[in-house]
């Protein structure tokens, strides 16, 4: 299983790369290959300092699609369309969407596209054979990057392809103390995505930082 991260040089993407490259082979993609290589250097340096193995390489976003079986699309919603449509070879790939369309107004507001969610929008622009799952939506970038802290969150996973969903859930369960939960079909992704602006509001109005959720 080869894992790729598109947008692997953003805050969340880099944190994911740091954690994932210690447990599997990871390809970090960026529009700017030099920046992807910088993220790899950060991963390698951090792993060496902490005496972990680390398997990571950098490339273009197209390299990520070409070389990965499972692709995490770690880009802001506003860049999803241009990123996806600028790349080829999505057929049969598993794509994880941690994307949350939202805006900061008086409070943080969930702003899904007409399709109902980022996940369903992705479905509308990717080939029918692409197996899309929603996962990792509710974990703050700071937490991904703080590799000395355990991630103790619940991760709801939505998707319509049972095999792909199981692969994604198995991946989730290998990362720190994350626990994956089957959250039903892809059409329910809007709920998972909208939890992120809720968590940002909870953090803001209760003077907290990097709030996540756990199912109990």
């Amino acid at each position: 299983m080869r894992i790729g991260i598109i947008g692997g040089t953003g805050e969340i993407g880099e944190g994911m790369a740091m954690r994932l490259s210690r447990i599997m082979d990871v390809c970090v993609g960026s529009r700017d290959v030099a920046k992807a290589q910088e993220t790899c250097d950060v991963c390698l340096f951090s792993a060496k300092e902490n005496k972990f193995e680390c398997s990571v390489k950098g490339g273009s976003n197209q390299n990520v699609v070409d070389e990965s079986d499972l692709i995490i699309l770690a880009v802001p919603f506003k860049h999803v369309r241009s990123t996806v449509e600028g790349l080829t070879g999505w057929e049969d790939k598993i794509v994880i969407s941690p994307v949350n369309p939202m805006e900061r107004k008086e409070s943080f507001v969930y702003t899904p596209p007409a399709e109902g969610s980022a996940a369903l929008y992705l479905k509308s622009i990717l080939p029918a054979s692409t197996r899309i799952c929603t996962a990792f939506n509710n974990i703050a970038g700071n937490k991904w990057r703080d590799i000395h802290s355990d991630l103790t969150y619940s991760v709801p996973v939505c998707g319509d392809d049972a095999q792909a969903k199981q692969i994604v859930m198995d991946l989730v369960d290998r990362i720190s103390l994350l626990k994956a939960y089957d959250a039903g079909p892809l059409s329910g992704s809007h709920i998972v995505e909208s939890i992120t602006p809720l968590l940002l509001n909870v953090a803001r109005y209760n003077r907290m930082k990097d709030v996540g959720i756990r199912f109990v």
Copy 2:
């Protein structure tokens, strides 16, 4: 502070009555006053068995509105309109909406009205001076009724009236181990409401029971 529960004879309403009547004066309302009295008898019997004080009385739903400062509207969404429009005297009251519009299809689906949420629908049919807060949306009826178990959940509270929201949050924090969180304006209620069908899906697809949430 006098607390009233409309729909106090339903599963969630009865569980709320059992727990709340041990810490404050509670008026339990029902369309059928005899049923409201039955719920009171259950509360009194359970409290006596477990050696708790208990202050509860039954009445009509109109009695609840007339005699309470804070009213919990524990009715299914499909009965909200007829219940609210059949009663008078809502002016200046604090109303808590634990209402979650949803349907069970292939999976549980959030089905808000055109206003965007049950809370905003309530706002559209109640007098402008009624102070509506969203709270208690994500706690299973079984858990309310199982008075021997602690409620260890996080309770997001949405509302536009700061004073009313503080009163509701203080109420939440007095119940078992519940912890209230200010979740922003009433317009964000759709997220809180939609978490309930998500939790029902998580329970269903992962063979769990009565799943709730905690912010961590």
